[in-house]
Structures are given as structure tokens and as C-alpha cells.
Symmetry: C2
Subunit: 204 residues, 2 copies
């Protein structure tokens, strides 16, 4: 597991990620994204009741720093990420292998714990550390947008500037994704459906 | 991360685990456990649409084997576990911090992958490897039962004999659990609720 040693904890914004809202009661038809000021995504209040797609530990874009024996040891901190999607879009995907308009993905980041209670090895999920979103919505120029909720912000505008430019999200979510702009290759139950429906991009 | 090296991959039956069914359309009122022959739990068809409580990686009861430099290297295999609960019981817990009768938990085990696609470090979830269940149901002598689905079995009887005796499940799920017989200490969103509702056992 050399790859996990002091792995840079990078929860990719452009990752398997997607964030969005889902206050079912407050939104127009269905459980899709809700906005203020036309394109600012409202923080989803109930995403923990959406459909869970998959989890990762210490997922990162870049190779971990090589182990240099002369360097001082890094503190051990490991991050879990959980991806959720709004239920109606999930049901649509299970039928078609594609995402309908007004789909929202949320990436939740959490610290991990170990050696607590009866757990003697391995890691479990702990405190909340961050939330990101991705939507497929025709209100955006090319149909997709990416969001990063800072702190407890109630709503957030789409990513568009530096340092993490929208273009980087789009590029990675276009070049490296298995289905449309989503990392279905990391969501095992969806991967199987996409394979059956023939919606995987070439190479997957 | 020494603790993760060649960690024995033990997905604890008595773990944070719980399995059960939840074929909503087929069961009597609600989304609770469904049985054949009175106490054989029917394999849940739709647990991936239940409420996700938390994930773990390489969670084990026992300390990992110590690294013996003279021993041959172990193949690297790491297992994720995902825990789900039926939605109506989740909603009840969020209100009360307790589990209602006819609650079902499912523990799903999955292989993990790494260094695939854009993932350069860390781990993501892959193929299904196992399913276990726990129910809180007054039809059982002391109100709880544990199940392990072998292969693709459509239903399974409660654990009662060796090698993994029901007694072991009960003992661990009684002594080491934060709320009733459930490992709420590993489900961060529930832990917070139980703390607010005052339903945590002493020591948590």
C-alpha cells in the first residue's frame, strides 16, 4: 500500500464529484438542483437521503509524493469521499444509462478514523470536511456546471475563475469520464448498467 | 498508515453490519424486513436505494498481523464496506435517536481499485463481494437477528451455529455498540443525532 502513505489528500473538485442541492420540498418539480439568482446553486439540505453511488479513500489526481527517507514524516490524515445523486435522476439512469437534464451530484468529504472502539485496523468515516457539486442543467451554456461550497455557504455560484477554473473541471470531466461528464467508472453499480445500455465511452 | 499494511480483510459479521431485505413493493406495510418460513430473511433487492450510513476500508476486529520482514509479501487486497438502512427506520432514528421495530441494516462488501483511469492514488469501490444483514424485529427472541447471505442465496436463516455463532454477533453488538445493537459510532451523521437525543450508551 505504498500508494497510501502520506498520500496528498486531494478531494478532486473535478473528481467523481458533483454537488448540488436537493431540498425536495422547496424545489419546482422533482428533486433536481435549486438555484438563487438564476445560476447560484442552493446547498442541498437532504443529500444524505439521496442515492449513494460510491466512496473513495484519499482519491487524488496526482501521484502521491515519493517517499523520501530523509524527509520528516507527514501527519497521517486520510479523507473519505462519498458521492450521492438525486433519486429521480438515478432512476432515470437505471433505465437508460444516461443522465437526464436537472441531475445533481454531491461529493461529500469526511475525515477518517481508526483504532477506535472495537476497530483495530482499517478506517471508518468521521467528521464532515467539505461539499462539492456538479449539475447537468440546460440553463448552463454547455449543459453542465461545477460548484464548491465554502464553509457553510447556503448557495454558491458556478466555478468560473482561477485557481480552479471551470475549464479544468470541464476538461477533466470530459476527457476522463466513463459516461457523459461523470466518473461512472468509480460507481460500480452504475458502471454495470452503463455497460448493459451501451452508454460507456470508448475505452471503458 | 502502518495499520493498513496487509491488514486482514475481515468484514465483520458482527461489525457495523446489518443485513436485511427491503423489497418495498413486496412487503407488508413499509420497507422493513421480509421473511420466508417465518424467520428466513429475504435478500433485499433494492438496498442500494436505501439510506447510506457510512463506509469503511479494511475494517477488522483484530489487530493486523505484525509485519515480519522475513515473511513473504502478502497480495494487496483491500475491502470497502458500505452500510445501508431502510428509509422509514432512518427517518424514525432522526426523530428519536432510536431504532423502531422492523429495522433492517445491510452491510455490503466490495473490492477496491486504485491507479485506474485518472485515479493516481487512493482507492475507489469496485466489485461486489458479500452481503450481511441485521434486523431489529420483535419476532426474534430478544428482538435482534443477524444474517449472512452466501453467494446469491435468495433468503437465509438467522445465524445460530458455529463457526460464527449468533452469540458472538449478539455479544459484540451489545458490548461495543454506541446505540442499541448498532455501531452508530461509525455512522457520523447518526452519531450526532444520537448525541442530541441522549440515546448514546455511556462512554460514547
Amino acid at each position: 500500500m505504498g500508494g497510501m502513505k502520506s498520500a496528498a489528500v486531494v478531494i478532486g473538485l473535478a473528481y467523481g464529484v458533483s454537488f448540488s442541492l436537493g431540498v425536495r420540498a422547496q424545489q419546482a418539480p422533482g428533486d433536481g438542483p435549486r438555484y438563487v439568482n438564476a445560476t447560484n446553486l442552493v446547498r442541498p439540505a437532504d443529500y444524505r437521503e439521496w442515492i449513494f453511488l460510491g466512496a473513495g479513500l484519499d482519491m487524488a489526481y496526482n501521484a502521491p509524493p515519493s517517499s523520501d527517507p530523509s524527509s520528516s514524516p507527514q501527519p497521517e490524515r486520510h479523507t473519505f469521499t462519498n458521492v450521492f445523486v438525486n433519486p429521480s435522476s438515478y432512476r432515470s439512469f437505471m433505465q437508460t444509462g444516461k443522465w437526464p437534464d436537472r441531475t445533481i451530484f454531491v461529493l461529500e468529504a469526511r475525515d477518517s478514523g481508526s483504532e477506535a472502539s472495537i476497530n483495530k485496523s482499517g478506517r471508518f468515516q468521521a467528521g464532515f470536511t467539505g461539499l462539492e457539486g456538479e449539475v447537468k442543467d440546460s440553463r448552463f451554456p454547455d449543459g453542465w456546471a461545477f460548484f464548491a461550497f465554502n464553509g457553510t455557504a447556503e448557495s454558491v455560484e458556478p466555478l468560473s475563475g482561477e485557481p480552479l477554473a471551470r475549464g479544468q473541471c470541464v476538461e477533466c470531466h470530459t476527457k476522463n469520464t466513463a459516461v457523459e461528464r461523470t466518473f461512472v467508472q468509480f460507481y460500480p453499480t452504475l458502471l454495470e448498467v452503463a455497460r448493459q445500455k451501451g452508454t460507456l465511452k470508448p475505452g471503458f
